[in-house]
Amino acid sequence: MSKTAEKTYWRSLQELSESKVYQEYAKQEFPDGAGELKDGYSRRNFLQIMGASIALAGFTACRKPVQKLLPYTRQPEHVVAGIPLTYASTFPFIDSGIGVLVTTNEGRPTKIEGNPDHPSSKGATNLMMQASILDLYDVDRSKNPKESGEARTWDDFVAFCNSHFADTNKRIAFVSEASSSPTFNRLKDQALSRFPNAKWATWEPTGNANVYSGTQMAFGRKLRPVHHFENAKVVVSLDHDFMNTNGDNVADNVDFASARRVSSTESEINRLYVVENSMSLTGSNADHRLRIKASEMPAFIAALASKLSENVSGLSAFSGVNNDFSQHSWVSVLAEELRQNGGSSILAVGQGYAPELHATVAAINAAIGNAGETVTYHDVPFVDDSYSNEAFVSLCNELSSGEFDTLVIVGGNPVYNAPADLNFAQIMERIPVSIHLANHVDETSKLATWHVNRSHFLEYWGDATSYTGVRSVIQPTILPLYGGKSEIEFLAAVVTGENHEGYDLVQDTWSNVISGDFTNGWNEIVHDGLQKDSGFDEVNVSIGNLSGVAENISGMTAAGEFELVIKPDSKLFDGRFANNGWLQELPDPVTKITWDNVALMSPATARKLGVEDKKFGVTDFDMISISVNGTEMEMVAWILPGHADDSITTTFGYGRTAVGRVADDMGKNTYLLRSTTNMLYHTGAEVRKIRGTYPIACTQNHNQMEGRPIVREATLAEYRETPDFAPAKVYVPARQEDGHSINLHSTQTFPDYQPQWGMAIDLNACTGCGVCTIACQAENNIPVIGKREVVRNREMHWIRTDRYFNGDEENPQVVHQPIPCMHCEQAPCELVCPVAATTHSDDGLNQMTYNQCVGTRYCSNNCPFKVRRFNFFNYAKNWLEIDEDPDVIQMAMNPDVSIRFRGVMEKCTYCVQRISRAKIETKNRTGNSIKPEDGSVVTACQQACPTQAITFGDITDPESVISRTKANERNYVMLEEINVRPRTSYLAKLRNPNSQLV
């Protein structure tokens, strides 16, 4: 069966909405009137029709072959060609959901933004949300169910379920991803009650399992801690990367930034301490950062608890602990800070750490009074005993010993991501019947008896619960492209043996939730994207007996010289987003590496191993061999300043073998190094340098600012003393001396035209996460160019984030700086273009006219900020026409932005299409004004940014947000001295150090 024939496209919105009328209409071979003669047969009308047919037949010879488009036979309500529609939905992510707004163009979802009304997103997004639009159009997705590799239909599968699961005494093992869906969990309960011999385990390679186990130890029940960063003055993250890989990272970033925002010298900001082994995104934003090995974390936490136990009650189990960290200055400083800020501080430890550490951290939060204030603990109804690593391990053991005859895997990919010592592939081979629901015919599906193709969350009806318990509905915006099924439809088929539509399943669940009139209530929830006032119950916690916990922690000692730490990837997470070109090509926020995972190590460890610090321009890097528990893996060694010594960190999510053309064979599958006993770190890893090198595509080749005032920063105290420290870093006579003209000639005047667009980026808010880059890529149809081209430094991102280290390489400070086009008022690029392809618009945009560009690249050379991107090859064509599936990725394209051909230059436009849309709307509304209201033009990067670091608007309006932002004393422009007058300015970064640690 050819692949193209299997694709299912909706033909119109009626088909999309599956209305009965339309289905009947579509079933008829001919529309009304064409199929039969209305007035019966008469000579006259017979001749009429014959004559017309012959005349029309003649015309066919006069025409070129026609490709038929199917226009709307009836104009669907709300759909106006060229005007995008927005629908509220929910992005399901592990065991929580994040509210989104999906933009569709003529029925194609093209962009995802945060739902401003939803507390989980507050209008912002993270990398995975932005990139999930591309997952929808992944040409490598599975296109039909398969039985033993043979193509089947969904009906075949339902029939199979009907017969196979008829015997309810079957011993069935269920393995599922964590899900926050009420419907999913309802069906899960149904399954377990229908099949009394069934067992269920929830497996997430990274997730909150240890957090729940930890709260059980501390408080006696599985609870979910929710951090309220907006209220915290002091945040202590013990390797808890809440800015990046945590499930609730959007809300965390929004809240953290709100406590970090500085509008004047009066503002107070929070203080962030990070203790970690590798430089995480959160660590790179810390005011103080301590690097310790991951295997030293138990001792550190015990020492901290012990120190605190001197002053607060509830931690007596830890009193008298004496270890390497007991005398450490950080322990006393942190204890002091936490105690003084009891009720307004947050202590958190990374998800992967042992439950005991989570228990201790929870106990500390409770003991110092944070619980109920900055950290609230919630009862999550769907978290049960099946959601723990132990449950999964014991299920796997039972599977190995042949205690089950059917294995049902609902999502997930355990053959790829289960700990290596469980040997899940062998389990799959032994079990008589295995069923796997998956997006791709992946590593697990390859070994399964049945593979069922899964639909994308933009294609199905479903529901989800946010991190704080806000219930919402997942609303499809397109029919399944490949006819996939959601996990609830899949589960319903297994449980009932019948086909159930997701829509009905979800409504069945919600009929019990919605009080009052169901239709009204349902419509409101679907429209708003959430059920208002829903949420998990907050629980008052009391610390239980921790003596066992303290004892276990004291037993966690490190052995061996090197430790190996394996963490989720900051872009691909656990590998589920691996086949996404946008994410693969996004530079890692800290290392700036694309398309690969590497073994990170400190400069001292590198010297010890003989790994060279490569010279500028070298793209082939040294390899090391890492062995743990007899498994050896060769990886690229990467020297990361600020990494703990004798510790090697790598990420999982790479090294796929069966997912698709983007991800396969990119990076190394580090899950092979993971075992059930050492989920986060292995002590006693053997590491040695080996011969050979490997090319790495890193987008930043130089990591120091060379003393240049590119990113400007100060401490909070310095800022209060010298508020204008940032602009004062550069001596510009015109600004600093009266009567000194900025220009030798008369001061250049700019068009007396409103609006004039400008942007400001608050470096104090920016965390460097990279969401802006993906949002821009989605909005502006930026192609993915592949590793080989990135190795050659030809990345196409219109907004990049530069990351600089300063200070010593052992404990560097880090700054992040997003760089879009500066839209210089006196743009040097415009001067040098021989064909005037780049010019200035009346409203102050530096425009790029793609059609007029001949591609001399002179503009790029003359750009001091190097923001211009050249199509060295026909990147767009290569990207949009992958092999035999030419048209799928094209559906993800934004119709308002042209696709650029090879040989032309492109760059940030300040989202000129959004500006134009706002202008048109304003003109339509007012009749004459083309000056959109302040705040009505939002650039893609600005909209996506979870820390609201980017402001945009009309700088001629003194009351606009942008004008007020630019009026801040911290406002500066890069390279002011060369007088190109950038429209994009920066607000200098501030740090809030503790004088005791400086």
Partner: protein, 471 residues
């Protein structure tokens, strides 16, 4: 020549007691004799290289600019380096034929013809690069101010546009100048060649030249006018090429010293190239009497002088970078000498500033071997000068986060090699079918051309074998 003592006796420009007819025979025989075997071999190799050039250009245009080693940060690489290098080489031809003509430097007649040929072929090689380095060559005509229905008009602020005019004007004037000089010699060949077809072709290009008095008057006037026209071009073309860099704001490019420095560099490299070609040609064709060691010495002096002008510019750039106090510029220059591209910088410094100093010594100036080697060294150095200017400035400019290293691909290298194919194919055709020395002009500097050559009785003076070398 009179035997009067007390005058400074200039060494004759042509050695070997040649007569008018022997000069004609010496030069014209090259064209008339059967083609030697070495020529076929050399032409074959050149053609292969030319084919390589076409293949590389076709590949480039088919695949896109990405086949070169360029990146986001360094958007100009070997193409622009080669362009500037070839244009620079061309300059010597115009300088020799036009400026030295106006300054009445009689010795130029020995080398002006093939120096001009070199100019034209070098500019042809150079001209390829600006055309093919653009992303969309099929719309390259948009850079010309052609009235069109698309409401497009070039941006006259752009130095690249100035380049288009400068180089095309230069090529046109050089070609005309060369051709006008060739007319009397074409007539000579027309009258000498035995093949009818050859006579017809030469006759066509000789424009009916008969050597009449009026014709000579017109010829001299037009030649003088063209020399006057070409003279400012020697200065303007490379000045404008230097504007490609100087008008930008990139540290290391944004320098007012560039115009004179580029012109000096161009003459420097051009003379070196003429030297290389002259030494080969005079050896093969036995033209030592015309292209004497005195010529070699004079050219070596020019190489030494222009080499030091270039060296002075190198040093001055450093001084200004320090004196100007712009940290970015300071970094750019220190980085050239000690940064990742230091190897290129020191090759340049050695070849352009150190190596020519051998020519302080007369013995070296008159040594064929030394002159030949150094002429090649100088052109290597001048290629690296353009590399250093173009690449190091771009690779590490204002924002350290976007710094990137540039290295060429095989396509870059083979395209450059291929341009030698174009150059030598043309040059070999020139050697084979055109008079490589200006026959008519060289006769003007023979002693016989002096009205006082014959005594009152019309007798020739005693033949003087050879004037001794002055010690």
């Amino acid at each position: 020549m009179s035997t009067n003592s007390g005058y400074v006796v200039e060494k004759p420009l042509v050695k070997g007691n040649h007569t008018f007819s022997s000069i004609t025979a010496l030069v014209a025989d090259i064209v008339e004799k059967p083609t030697p075997l070495w020529w076929y071999i050399a032409f074959g190799i050149s053609n292969l290289l030319l084919g390589l050039l076409f293949a590389m250009l076709a590949y480039l245009i088919w695949e896109g600019t990405g086949v070169w080693g360029l990146n986001n940060t360094v958007a100009w690489g070997w193409a622009i380096i080669n362009f500037v290098w070839w244009v620079g080489i061309g300059h010597a031809g115009t300088l020799i034929s036009a400026i030295l003509y106006l300054f009445r430097q009689g010795w130029r007649t020995a080398i002006n013809r093939f120096a001009e040929a070199m100019t034209i072929f070098a500019v042809m090689c150079a001209g390829i690069f600006p055309a093919v380095h653009v992303g969309r060559i099929w719309v390259i005509y948009w850079i010309f101010p052609l009235p069109n229905q698309m409401q497009m008009w070039p941006n006259f602020n752009s130095p690249l546009l100035w380049d288009v005019f400068a180089v095309s004007t230069y090529f046109t004037v050089s070609l005309l100048f060369w051709y006008v000089g060739l007319v009397p010699d074409f007539a000579t060949l027309r009258d000498r060649v035995k093949s009818k077809l050859g006579a017809k072709i030469y006759g066509f290009f000789a424009l009916g030249w008969t050597g009449g008095n009026r014709q000579w008057q017109h010829y001299e006037k037009s030649y003088l006018l063209l020399a006057g026209l070409a003279t400012p071009l020697v200065l303007s073309v490379h000045t404008i090429v230097s504007f490609d860099f100087a008008v930008s704001i990139i540290p290391g490019w944004h320098t007012t010293i560039f115009p004179p420095y580029f012109v000096a560099g161009a003459i420097f490299s051009g003379f070196a190239m003429v030297m290389t070609l002259m030494l080969i040609a005079r050896k093969i064709y036995g033209l030592e009497d015309i292209m004497t060691d005195d010529h070699m010495e004079k050219m070596n002096i020019i190489i030494l002088v222009t080499g030091w002008m270039v060296g002075f510019a190198y040093i001055m750039e450093f001084f200004i970078a320090w004196y100007g106090g712009v940290e970015y510029e300071k970094f750019a220059f220190v980085n050239r000498a000690f940064g990742p591209y230091a190897w290129a910088y020191w090759i340049m410094m050695f070849c352009n500033v150190v190596a020519p100093n051998f020519f302080w010594f007369k013995k070296m100036r008159r040594s064929v071997a030394v002159s030949f080697v150094l002429s090649i060294v100088v052109n290597i150095g001048m290629w690296f000068e353009r590399f250093v200017i173009t690449v190091t400035s771009l690779a590490q400019d204002f924002i350290p986060g976007s710094w990137a290293y540039y290295s060429p691909t095989w396509v870059d290298v083979l395209t450059y090699v291929g341009t030698f194919g174009l150059f030598f194919t043309n040059f070999l055709l020139f050697l084979r079918f055109m008079p490589m020395v200006a026959i008519a002009e060289i006769k003007m500097v023979l002693p016989q051309a002096d009205p006082h050559y014959y005594d009152e009785d019309g007798n020739e003076p005693e033949p003087v074998e050879q004037i001794e070398e002055s010690k």
